[in-house]
């Protein structure tokens, strides 16, 4: 490694707290350690720092659900500051859905609370002998029995911990029944509706018998240069107020603003990606949601965008979709849906019933599972049902495209692994393989695609194929230039220039993910606007070059980790449907994804071998072991 050993130089002046909490559940031990400052400087925080620790400490070949897998909760140096969107923490582990390194992040108040309690990150090891939760109140850290919480939904869990602790401002990150039952796409939830959603981080937590981490922190986040920091954070906020997306689009319609946009481009995967235009898009759009169901906007900690949607169901809808388990708080307002889950449970399943989507989104939040993979897995099952590969005797109920009843009912069955829900709980790769039709799995590295068809947006295909955590919209969002024209417009149908933009986006995104800021900022500001805050907070003289290189370092380290995990050569690919089956209608009619035109150039730009291996020269350049 480049840089020096922990604690030998510099010292921490702000941004990071300098303390790591190590919790071994098997031995019931808790240790406070100094943060490796050399790693902090090179990998910044969040996604990067987490990857570095995981690389050092955990064998990529472990079973993700075994006690040997480690589960890291990592904040960034800007988490807990007043930098707009400085709310993020990252969960880093080997994903239960994918077997790849995963980095799932969440907003709300949990990450900042952890910083205020005095910790940059928590490393969770082993497996508790019985249901347990971790209690953190500043210096006071202990493992507590969670037997009485096991089986409870996320919302009850938060409330019960808060009331039994007698500390009303406690912020809780927890799993619901889905995580306990090792649903492969279980999420970790905080603040009721905020999710570290994808790749099954909740199942890893469940396998450790860790129900929750409850935090109350009353300390403060320090800054190396307070005056400089305030000036920089004001400047960024002013910029955010000027952008059409961060000042108008997101606050007015939330992420759901994208439904009509993407549909008009013929890029909205519909009925398990058999089509790309959803005829009922209008019914589930941000415009409709805002006009008919929105109660208020909600912001995460320090966020000046406030994209969160608080929605309310009319009484009839609430009771129409009531399922068996009936927590008292299901009739009140909740949050969502966001674009991704409205797509997965909506268009991808052919369902245009907004109320069913809101309801099932809440169910997913309370059960603690990822609505993207849930919706996409149900969509794959629906295609198999329509093609009569599976029948009622297996599914227990008709699974026709468009069935809102199936959507609501199956959510509960998945969370509790009841009946056919037990098979859905494995995700669509395992589900389709089980019935001999892996061609109906729509994803990469075991993780289902998000809401953009890669035949209509070529760059997204390359991004999905090379994404370290499996198909994901958050690792190189080239929808931004290809559809929205941010920062400049690119033609979504061509492959030229896509390798380059994908590499740049992947590296910059990795850097943003390491700071503790929210990716949505990038709609309104660039890394250069975030940089001065990072420098002033930490006192480390990052430059655009060194920060972008930190992003590239993170990307390459994740790649190396995956190589070690056996996900190397040949895994950068897309399903046949994307590569060979042309889009049947709409603006992108006749198109397939031309991955073969982009991948070799991408490898070359990355400085990797022709079959995508990280070279020794690249490792040396980035200071990687």
């Amino acid at each position: 490694m480049i840089g020096d050993q922990a604690g030998t130089s510099g010292g921490i002046h702000g941004g990071w707290t300098g303390t790591v909490l190590r919790v071994n559940l098997s031995r019931a031990t808790i240790k406070k350690e100094s943060l490796r400052q050399d790693w902090a400087r090179e990998y910044v925080g969040g996604r990067g720092l987490g990857a570095r620790y995981l690389w050092e400490e955990s064998d990529p070949n472990v079973d993700p659900l075994s006690p040997k897998n480690k589960l890291l909760f990592v904040t960034g140096p800007l988490t807990g500051t007043n930098a707009s969107c400085g709310a993020r923490y990252m969960v880093v582990t080997k994903g239960a859905l994918t077997g790849a390194i995963t980095t799932s992040n969440s907003g709300g108040h949990w990450g900042p609370e952890l910083k205020c309690a005095g910790y940059d990150m928590i490393i969770v090891e082993g497996r508790a002998p019985r249901p347990t939760y971790l209690w953190i109140h500043n210096d006071e850290v202990e493992l507590r029995d969670a037997t009485h919480l096991w089986g409870k939904g996320v919302w009850d869990t938060e409330e019960m911990i808060r009331s039994e602790s007698g500390v009303p401002d406690t912020i809780v990150a927890s799993i619901g029944p889905a995580g306990e039952n090792l649903v492969r796409f279980a999420s970790i939830m905080n603040d009721l509706h905020r999710a570290a959603g994808r790749s099954g981080v909740g199942a890893v937590m469940g396998s450790k018998m860790l129900k929750a981490i409850a935090v109350r922190g009353t300390g403060g986040v320090k800054l190396a240069d307070a005056r400089g920091f305030m000036a920089a954070s004001w400047a960024m906020k002013a910029k955010l107020k000027e952008s059409a997306v961060t000042a108008e689009g997101l606050p007015t319609y939330g992420t759901e603003v994208l439904v009509n946009v993407i549909n008009e481009h013929g890029a909205m995967p519909t009925r398990n990606h058999t089509e790309t235009i959803f005829e009922k898009a209008e019914d589930i759009s941000g415009e409709t949601l805002t006009e008919t169901r929105l109660v208020a906007n909600k912001a995460c900690f320090a966020c000046t965008i406030a994209c969160g949607r608080v929605t309310k169901l009319p009484g009839e809808a609430s009771s129409k979709f009531m399922v068996n388990t009936n927590p008292r708080n299901w009739k009140i307002a909740g949050e969502g849906p966001e674009y991704e889950n409205a797509w997965a449970m909506g268009a991808d399943c052919g369902i245009g019933d907004l109320d069913a989507l809101i309801k099932t989104g809440w169910l997913c939040n309370d059960y603690g599972m990822d609505p993207i993979t849930y919706g996409a897995t149900l969509a794959a099952a629906m295609e198999m049902y329509e093609k009569e590969i599976i029948t009622n005797s297996i599914t227990g109920m008709p699974l026709r495209f468009g069935s809102a009843d199936a959507l609501v009912a199956m959510a509960e069955k998945v969370a509790f692994r009841d009946g056919f829900g037990d098979l859905l709980a494995e995700g669509s790769k395992r589900l389709t393989a089980r019935f001999g039709h892996p061609e109906f799995f729509m994803g990469v590295r075991g993780q289902e695609f998000p809401a953009y068809d890669s035949r209509a947006i070529q760059g997204m295909g390359l991004g999905y194929a090379t994404s370290n955590r499996g198909a994901c919209h958050l690792k190189s969002y080239t929808v931004s230039p290809e559809i929205l024209g941010i920062p400049t417009k690119m033609d979504p149908h061509v492959t030229e220039g896509k390798a380059e933009i994908t590499k740049i986006f992947q590296d910059i995104t990795s850097a943003v993910d390491a700071t503790g800021l929210c990716l949505f900022l990038t709609f309104g500001v660039g890394l250069e606007e975030m940089l001065p805050q990072l420098v002033a907070a930490t006192g480390v003289s990052y430059t655009m070059d060194s920060l972008t290189q930190a992003g590239e370092r993170i990307w390459n380290l994740e790649r190396l980790w995956n190589e070690r995990a056996g996900l190397g050569k040949g895994s950068d690919t897309l399903p046949k449907r994307m590569l060979e089956q042309p889009i049947p209608s709409g603006p992108a009619k006749g198109m397939v994804n031309r991955l073969g035109e982009m991948l070799p150039e991408y490898y070359r730009l990355r400085g990797w071998t022709a079959d995508g291996k990280v070279t020794a020269a690249k490792r040396k350049e980035l200071g990687l072991v």
Binding site: N82, S84, L223, A296, A299, A302, I332
Partner: protein, 161 residues
């Protein structure tokens, strides 16, 4: 009339930029636990209520203080004079809104002093939910007390039913 904080809860998104700004003024760090303006998140009702000292005309905190440590500043704020405050905590009990705090660090009372006429929270709020404007010092508790009296009267008259 004096300038004071006017809070419009309907505009609030719960971002707590106001708490961060307030704690920064006091401590130089971002420490919401030390903020003198607090945002309560009523998650299940989708509402957020920022609240801070109302700078009451007839200030209960000021009246309650046994050593006259609470005075009125040039910005017409009720302020705690730390040199006089003996940390008895009576004002924290007297304030009907719970907006005077006891500081475990200084062992004295702390409350909003309107940042000497330039409140940081109002600057920081991105949605305009906090305004610093000329506004009459209303009898904030009046309508609430009237409501409560009415309810009690109804309960008494319907009592036994």
């Amino acid at each position: 009339m004096a300038k004071q904080l006017r809070i419009i809860p309907e505009k609030c998104t719960g971002c707590i930029q106001c708490e961060l700004a307030c704690s920064f003024v006091q401590t130089g760090t971002f420490q919401p636990a030390r903020s003198l303006i607090r945002v309560h998140l009523f998650d299940d009702q989708a509402s957020y209520a920022p609240y801070a000292c109302f700078q009451c005309d007839e200030a209960w905190c000021l009246t309650a203080c046994p050593v006259n440590a609470i005075t009125i500043s040039a910005a017409a704020a009720k302020v705690v004079v730390p040199e006089l405050c003996v940390g008895c905590g009576l004002c924290t009990i007297a304030c009907p809104y719970g907006t005077v705090w006891y500081s475990p660090d200084t062992h004295k009372a702390v409350k909003c002093d309107l940042c000497a006429g330039d409140p940081a929270c109002a600057h920081a709020c991105p949605t305009g939910a906090i305004e610093y404007v000329d506004t009459p010092a209303a009898d904030w508790l009046g309508p609430w007390a009237a409501d409560l009296n009415q309810t009690h009267a109804e309960m008494r008259s319907g009592g036994g039913a």
